[in-house]
């Protein structure tokens, strides 16, 4: 089962650049998420709870989302390139980020203060939307970033010595 999951999921393909792809996708996916936060008035509430300006909250959010995007693409590896299922994997990841970040971490760092009402709804919707957008974007961002087959196939570890990959020199 471990090798099966690795083959389909968390082992990225040999030509993939998951961290870069995830970071770029994470940043881009933040755009619609910010719109939702703004519409629900959540951005102002979060800035107030964190005791920072809206600009600083946005900057920190963008940075965090870039990191979270990179984590997503590395964690889901090969599966993150699935065009038909990416939206779902991303939305599930967005839900997890919401559950971990907004529900658990934010109240901890803010002394128990948390968004409520529409602002809380906005945080939820924005993170699930961010995740879905991230999942949709990754396969498309990833393709032009792939290393070329020509270049990677010259690596020694895929060459003839792979036949004795588990062997020692005698």
């Amino acid at each position: 089962m471990a090798s099966f999951l690795a083959a389909h999921g968390y082992d990225p393909g040999p030509t993939q650049r998951p961290l870069l792809t995830g970071a770029i996708s994470g940043v881009l996916a933040t755009v619609p998420a910010i719109l939702v936060l703004h519409l629900f008035g959540s951005l102002e509430v979060e800035a107030r709870i964190l005791g920072t300006s809206i600009g600083a909250t946005l900057a920190a959010g963008w940075l965090l989302m870039a990191v979270a995007g990179a984590v997503y693409a590395r964690l889901f590896g090969r599966a993150a390139n699935n065009r038909s299922g990416g939206w779902l994997f991303g939305a599930a990841f967005g839900f997890a980020v919401w559950a971990a970040g907004a529900v658990l971490v934010l109240p901890l760092v803010s002394g128990g203060r948390a968004p409520a009402g529409e602002a809380a709804l906005g945080v939820f919707v924005s993170l699930v939307l961010w995740g879905a957008a991230l999942g949709i974007l990754v396969p498309f961002i990833h393709r032009p970033l792939h290393a070329s087959l020509e270049e990677v196939s010259k690596r020694a570890d895929v060459g003839p010595t792979a036949a004795a990959a588990n062997g020692r020199r005698t």
């Binding site: 090798s3 999951l5 390139n81 299922g85 009402g117 196939s153 792979a162 036949a163």
Partner: protein
């Protein structure tokens, strides 16, 4: 991709699951049971003070949307994980959303319904107390949802075996990359394959179609490009016989014309596989003696329409086709009976011969690569009954090829044919003249060598003697030019190692003087459900391809490209003496 998911079916299951939940829980609520009202909780987020006519459709829409998401999640990650009845699988899966609903979503919904934009969290806000009836309602709702999703989401791959043609997707014209043209020379064949099995299961009611499941019908142009990028010279591939051959003399060539035109113009050169484990619905199964005539006509018509095609595999793996259909009871006729095996084997050989003759009538210089699975049975112990069983199976594995190549069978196999009243047919094949340009294709996988255990049952041995030893047995029997026509490895992390080891097996036989013309990694992309021999339409993806189903390369693709780049310009590979002799 872990599984091939039927998104539409999963969405329908999600909608139905959410609707069933609401129907039961709404009835309870209307009957006065004070339980958790998920639709109202969601709807009043948008219409806090609104009437039911406002919050119910809104809440229901959100409820259905979440239901669809969970159903698709189930389809990807949980479906067919356990060998349970489908509704039970759904019920067990529903425990996950139920726990999340109780622990996270329900308290958060409470927070979202507050008339404030910020709160100081308290214990009651983080984990508001729910009554037993509210908890019971949430659990019951999820249980209903899981049961319904589980019951509806079944058979995500394949389709009803009906006499209707499916159309290949029209692929948008793309600029071709790495077009290397169709090689006409006699260079060593570095091949891959498009896995194109299409047997029926469920007593002929359900059609497996690997090309459909791998999305080859949508992605064929991309698949051919990928093959060219790797440097593959030849591609084992076949039109979907069950869709093209609509009836006697009725051919739906528009399914095939565009992909064939692309292969003709840009390569790789196809080795056309005309029958791969199944026949069209109107022909029934391999017990039907009419398949020889029908497939002969089909092959002749194919050769006439695509006269540039040089390489053919008329019927892929006749022994495996007959065995899986009549002894293992998994495909097509799904019998478990020796007489049916003999009938299927004879019908397959008759069809193969008819196809070969029909092709030769249109293309006299056609090359026939007769692929067969290399099998070997090792007796576990010096027990006469066990040794006899192994010896019998080691003779039976040759039966279809013996008939095709007009080779005499052993005494035991002769007795077997006599026992089933088929000796006369066997005798007729003995005088058959085998076409000059016939190649023996020998496939090899890690399950091809078997141990006959103390109960007389075969068990997988893994690679005991290896391809060169087993293929060597076939070589000594038939003395035909040979090709390694299929291999792959189930553990993607070990596949590159397996590729190189198979390659060294090929090299060993070449140095021993066996005229070998080619090597094949099968297949270009991952496949589905081969781990269970296609017996159920689960859609579980086997990571055996050079590329996964997203068309991202696996490490073995890099190794194969490395291997091809390393060898193709070496003198003995740039022009393969065995192939040159065959073509001359």
């Amino acid at each position: 991709m872990i599984r091939v998911v039927a998104l539409r079916k999963a969405a329908v299951a999600g909608v139905a699951g959410a609707a069933a939940w609401e129907a039961v829980l709404r009835s309870l609520i209307l009957a006065g049971v004070p339980t958790f009202d998920i639709v109202k909780s969601l709807g009043t987020l948008v219409f806090p003070q609104g009437p039911a006519s406002a919050w119910w459709p809104t809440g229901m829409a959100a409820h259905v949307l979440v239901g669809i998401c969970w159903a698709v999640f189930y389809a990807y990650f949980f479906w067919s994980r356990f060998d349970w009845r489908p509704p039970l699988q759904g019920l067990v899966f529903a425990a996950l959303p139920a726990v999340l609903a109780l622990a996270i979503v329900s308290p958060q919904l409470g927070l979202m319904q507050l008339d404030a934009d910020e709160v100081q969290l308290t214990r009651d806000l983080i984990m508001p107390p729910l009554s037993a009836l509210e908890i019971g309602g949430l659990v019951l709702g999820h249980a209903i949802f899981g049961l319904v999703v589980g019951a509806i989401y079944v058979r995500p791959v394949g389709y009803r075996n009906e006499p209707v043609g499916k159309r290949l997707a029209k692929v948008r014209e793309r600029p071709r990359k790495a077009a290397n043209g169709r090689p006409q020379g006699a260079g060593f064949i570095f091949a891959a394959g498009i896995e194109c099995s299409y047997p029926t299961i469920e007593q002929g009611k359900w059609r497996r179609d690997e090309m459909d499941e791998m999305r080859h019908y949508q992605w064929w142009q991309r698949d051919f490009e990928l093959a060219r990028e790797i440097g593959i010279t030849h591609l084992r591939c076949g039109p979907p016989l069950h869709l093209v051959l609509g009836g006697p003399g009725r051919f739906q060539w528009d399914l095939v014309d565009e992909p064939m035109a692309e292969l003709e113009q840009f390569g790789p050169e196809p080795i056309v596989d005309l029958c791969h484990f199944g026949v069209p619905e109107w022909l029934g199964d391999f017990q039907n003696p009419e398949i020889a005539k029908a497939l002969g006509e089909y092959a002749g018509a194919f050769a006439e329409r695509y006269p540039w095609v040089r390489f053919y595999t008329p019927i892929n793996e006749m022994y495996v086709t007959a065995r899986m259909s009549t002894l293992d009871g998994l495909w097509n006729e799904q019998r478990k009976d020796e007489s049916a095996f003999v009938t299927a084997a004879l019908n397959l050989v008759a069809a193969n011969v008819a196809m070969t003759e029909a092709i030769l009538a249109k293309r006299p210089d056609a090359v026939f690569i007769q692929s067969e699975s290399s099998e070997f049975y090792q007796a576990c112990c010096p027990e006469p009954s066990i040794e006899e069983r192994a010896a019998f199976e080691n003779e039976r594995r040759f039966l279809p090829l013996d008939l095709l190549f007009g080779h005499e069978v052993g005494d035991e196999m002769l007795g077997y044919l006599q026992q089933h009243g088929r000796e006369a047919e066997y005798r007729r094949y003995l005088s058959r003249e085998v076409p000059k340009r016939t190649v023996l294709g020998v496939d090899y996988y890690q399950w091809n060598e078997k141990l006959v255990d103390r109960d007389g049952q075969p068990r997988n041995l893994g690679e005991l003697f290896g391809w060169s030893v087993i293929a060597g047995q076939y070589w000594r029997r038939y003395r035909r030019p040979m090709m390694h026509t299929e291999t792959n490895f189930g553990n993607a992390a070990e596949a590159a190692r397996w590729l190189w080891r198979q390659w060294h097996n090929v090299q060993l036989l070449r140095t021993e003087g066996v005229p070998l013309i080619g090597f094949t990694w099968y297949s270009l992309t991952d496949q589905t459900d081969w781990e269970i021999g296609l017996r159920r339409p689960d859609g579980t993806v086997d990571p055996v391809g050079l590329f996964d189903l997203n068309r991202d390369p696996r490490p073995v693709a890099l190794s194969y490209k490395h291997l091809i780049d390393l060898h193709r310009d070496q003198p003995e590979y740039r022009e393969c003496p065995a192939l040159k002799e065959l073509l001359n």
